[in-house]
Point group: C2
Chain length 359, copies 2
């Protein structure tokens, strides 16, 4: 299946929605993809179920603080160099690339890489949303080694990391990313087709594009986009979608620290003036609280959207006075297992609350 | 020429002297070398002037804060893995290894690597002393590219860095070293024999061993070791050696920061109680001041030695009350050129004073 230039904006909106406030604004990645398509390159999207078991798939992505991404634009060669570094370690060329996360800019980077290199892009990812750290992957939960990892920056510098421990991979690559100026581009989790089939969350590029399409068409057709999403998502592997709060942004506390965008946003309800919802984030939204009550909790997706347009608002663009709807989405079962929660459940972020799936 | 177990202690004392207070205590490296010699391995030291022009030489070394080295002991495999990572990038095996710096522990690491791998060690280095940063090499001044750099820690993790810019190499490798726990082992500046001949400071392993020998024999023969050193060093490429201050350590301010051991030591003269000498260090001693007067300045070597035994005292073992002699040594001409001073003269350390060679 070919990915066309008309699909880019829908994908970017859907990827922002699945980005849970983080993931890096896909707008920049979208521009990169449009540019390469206009040059005549082709992007082929491949269903993971049709993969050759023995093929080599090398995912590609961006890492760092989304706040920095807005100011330090990529040249475009970074993820290519990162992928080449992994190929050099393996002594073998990639047959395809794919997203490590479908949320945010990382839904678009593999499309750009696929177009540039003339290799297909697998319609699947390892997070089903966006998460801030590299070990937070369904690939990792299911025993895939994260390295060799290749990392590159806009200056042309390239690093390779080899470790048996996916947490160490994150720790070392994050240190390099900070020294590279706060963002970098990487390739990791090289996998066989067989491994992709058994460890990835499938058809998530298609899902992101459809979410974007629903939001766009709802606006055109004067339908309620939130109702449309609440009806659509339960027909996918994402169990439930539900509005959990509505109101006005009255406080945003945000800093760039340890290579992440950290902070919290407070939203006040319009009608009952005393009612507030507080959303805490590490790049991505982690927990939404209403007084003592937990409204939604990672790994379920918490996304803040413009109340009028239903366009998702990433955390680096949150502003005082925005009227917003907070929507939560229950993630697929593969992301709610005990081992999955160890990797990217509340405790992985230092949150004391036990995970309770959104209903 | 073979390097014997009887030579280890002399080398370590001489390397401490040339370490200018830093370089990492060679004691630990000395133990590693003794252990590998006792196992029956052989260490062959080769004169750089006899090198085959086309041979591949890969230097090996340790980097990080000397304070951390004392608490985080190497397993021994780290520099081997680092060298293998560089070989893998080049697609070629090393014909020999050599020190990047003769001062401190890095005089011993290549001996250990040479013994383990059965390859010779070149009697030369790129600093003629110790410096805290990786771009501060006569190799770099003369156009040798520092990368591929291989880096490894005691956990077995391995990183590779590729960049055209030796300052970026330092910046990125330092970031990884901090994340690896404060110390790591590396291989970099892969060179041909021809490049070694034209860029290295020659015969410095021999020099270090002879300095250690002079200090040891002076104690045995009840001669003045400082006078002996002042007589010996001008017969080498090191132009002058001179005692610049004597007294008691009355203050040590030391912290581990940005991956370095930073601080200053104040020494008070015994007879004129008001007279004080202040030595500032970043791993290595950078400047010795006596009131407004500069007594000695980097790249010339400033070493603090025990007043009784003449054993050099590294900055991580400086203590209140030690009676010491501060000795300064003028470095070889190759280290005092304009381009050399740009790389490791006072301004490279943020020191305002102009370099004025020790006389």
């Amino acid at each position: 299946m070919d990915f066309h230039i008309e699909d880019v904006d829908d994908l970017c909106v859907g990827a922002s929605f699945l980005g849970a406030g983080g993931g890096g604004d896909p707008y920049i990645g979208g521009l990169m993809v449009k540019k390469v398509l206009k040059k005549g390159h082709r992007i082929e999207i491949v269903d993971p179920d049709t993969l050759d078991d023995g093929g080599l798939i090398i995912p590609t992505a961006m890492m760092g603080a989304p706040t920095v991404l807005l100011e330090k634009l990529p040249s475009g060669d970074e993820p290519i160099r990162a992928l080449r570094a992994v190929e050099a370690q393996l002594g073998r060329k990639a047959d395809a690339t794919m997203p490590t996360e479908v949320g945010g800019i990382n839904s678009t980077i593999p499309l750009y890489v696929g177009a540039r290199l003339g290799i297909p892009v697998i319609d699947a990812d390892g997070q089903g949303r966006a998460f801030p750290e590299l070990q937070m992957e369904t690939f990792a939960i299911n025993g895939v080694r994260g390295t060799p990892l290749g990392l590159s920056d806009e200056k042309g510098d390239v690093a390779t990391i080899l470790t048996e421990d996916n947490h160490r991979m994150e720790w070392l690559a994050r240190g390099l990313t900070i020294r590279m100026g706060g963002t970098a581009y990487f390739a990791n989790y090289p996998m066989t087709g067989k491994q992709v089939k058994s460890t990835a969350i499938k058809h998530t590029l298609t899902l992101a594009r459809r979410i974007g399409c629903i939001i766009r068409r709802s606006a055109q057709d004067k339908r309620n986009p939130f109702e449309e999403l609440e009806a659509f998502l339960p027909t996918t592997s994402y169990s439930v979608a539900r509005r959990i709060f509505e109101g006005k942004v009255v406080d945003v506390d945000r800093k760039t620290d340890r290579g992440f965008t950290l902070g919290e946003v407070v939203i006040r309800e319009d009608k009952k003036m005393g009612e507030k919802c507080c959303v805490i984030f590490q790049n991505e939204n982690l927990i939404a609280r209403h007084g003592e009550e937990t409204l939604a909790l990672v790994p379920d997706i918490i996304t803040i959207m413009d109340a009028e347009t239903a366009l998702p608002i990433t955390n680096e663009t949150l502003r005082y006075g925005q009227r917003v709807v907070v929507m939560a989405v229950g993630v697929p079962d593969i992301m709610r297992t005990e081992s999955a929660l160890l990797q990217f459940g509340p405790s992985a972020f230092g949150i004391e609350e036990q995970f309770s799936p959104l209903r």
